[in-house]
Amino acid sequence: MTNSSPIKLSCIIDDDDVYINLVKKIIDIKKLSENLLIFKNGQEALDYFKAIIENLNNEAFPEIILLDLNMPVMNGWNFLKEFTAIESPLKKKATLYIVSSSINQADINKSKEFSEVTNYLVKPVNIAEFEALFNSNKISA
């Protein structure tokens, strides 16, 4: 794994400031991603993605998206609905994970309806799990 190139850009969509700070720290300490995008709700993230897709800005597209479900303005489900409706060659690049504290089986089942969702992770995600998640998305050198 040491030979593989690290993740350049990843993205967190979550309204919990405390959680965001913690993930930021983990990414920092473990050097999991060079850059990090943070959006406080689905709408902010969607606006960003629409803009970069329109400009075909490949560099600005994250490789990993960590999406929370329960957020104000636009929740994770509505973001997924809108995001998956966008047609773009850029989109293929991102691996999307739901990271939520909901252990509701209905939520877990619903996430399986979206082929774009790679996995459903229940908070807390520990440091080792974060490492594994980021490492599995590295492009082997």
């Binding site: 700070n21 913690l22 300490i29 504290s101």
Partner: protein, 359 residues
């Protein structure tokens, strides 16, 4: 069995089931009501029914339907229906009524006849049951929401705790350690806030808010304005109130205070930036229902998107830093704990109307 015996059985059945008979004769232009019908309707024996007077035997709101049903029947359509009638003393009650056209030998309709049965007691029980069922359903929905909150919110705090602690073990830098310690304090504070919210809701649902008292809407309104003066003054909000139709109600005073406080502060929090907030508060009665309505000209909320979640806990819909998503949830709990309901109508950019059925 001879005729008089037959009569006896009919009379007994009619008496036992509180069923009355009636007939309208088109040929002789006469109407009849049998003794049991007169008894149910509280009419004297010398009351002479006519087609016009028969209409008055129905509750005012049901007359139009009664006329239509009768006209249809006189054209050959039998009926079986539940309708409200009115006794001579003005008392309105539910009956089950059935009627059929009367044909002569040439198959021509020469009249209409039927029976009706006083089912007021059963009907009231049924209505009460439906009401209770609705209340139970809404309580169940609230409990489910509550269970999700407990699970979701307590979990998110505990998950943050866990993550912070593992990080604390992994870092060596003192400044980072200090930052994480401060973070732990912050998490513990939010956990406390969540628990106090949950406690509040539990106490609302067990009706520990106090005794019912005669609560004056005007007084509650004035108190609320005073409490909120720091936010109302800079907003320049205008209030239009009309409590003349219903000036006061038996309610838990703390709940009424909280309803006014939550809804008015929401209206100000979500005022439209382009206009002076105008908040209209009215009370009125509709039959036996007592209603309280709040109407504002604020930014509104998209009900198509959020409709069923608006009164849930920790649901915030605008990117407002002050929003915690507890206000309307608490308001709904207080209203429903006292047997009422709250409904919302809202148009984005136009405003929001909250209609509260008090009890």
């Amino acid at each position: 069995m001879n005729l008089s015996n037959n009569d006896f059985y009919y009379r007994e059945v009619a008496e036992l089931t509180a069923s009355g008979g009636w007939k309208v004769d088109f040929i002789n232009k006469e109407s009849y009501l049998d003794p049991q019908a007169r008894k149910i309707l509280n009419l004297s024996e010398d009351f002479k029914p006519s087609l016009y007077k028969l209409i008055d035997l129905y509750a005012p709101k049901h007359r139009e339907t009664a006329i239509k049903t009768f006209m249809d029947c006189s054209e050959g359509i039998p009926f079986e229906t539940t309708v409200k009638m009115q006794r001579s003393n003005g008392e309105i009650f539910w009956v089950k009524a059935a009627g059929k056209p009367i044909y002569n030998n040439d198959n021509k309709i020469i009249g209409v006849q039927g029976v009706f049965r006083d089912i007021n007691k059963e009907k009231l029980v049924e209505i009460e049951k439906k009401k209770e069922q609705k209340l139970l359903q809404s309580q169940n929905a609230r409990l489910l929401n509550f269970a999700h909150i407990v699970s979701h919110n307590l979990r998110s705090h505990s998950s943050n705790f866990q993550l912070s602690l593992t990080l604390l073990n992994a870092v060596d830098d003192e400044t980072e350690k200090k930052e994480l310690m401060d973070g732990l304090l912050q998490i513990s504070e939010s956990l406390n806030t969540t628990i106090s919210h949950l406690n509040e809701i539990v106490s609302v649902n067990s009706k520990t808010g106090g005794e019912l008292k005669d609560v004056s809407f005007n007084e509650v309104f004035n108190d609320t304005i005073n409490i909120l003066s720091d936010v109302i003054k800079p907003s320049k909000a205008e209030f239009i109130t009309d409590f003349t139709s219903l000036e006061s109600i038996d309610y838990i005073p703390a709940y009424m205070d909280s309803i006014f406080l939550n809804i008015i502060s929401n209206s100000i929090k979500y005022a439209h930036p382009d206009r002076t907030p105008t908040i209209k508060i009215t009370t009125y009665t509709e039959g036996e229902d007592k209603l309280l309505v709040f109407e504002d000209n604020g930014i509104g909320v998209n009900l198509e998107l959020y409709g069923n979640k608006i009164f849930n806990m920790y649901q915030t819909f605008h990117n407002n830093k002050n929003a915690v998503g507890i206000g309307l949830f608490m308001t709904r709990n207080q209203i429903e704990a006292l047997g009422g309901t709250i409904t919302i109508e809202s148009t984005v950019d136009k405003g929001t109307k909250l209609k509260i059925l008090l009890n």
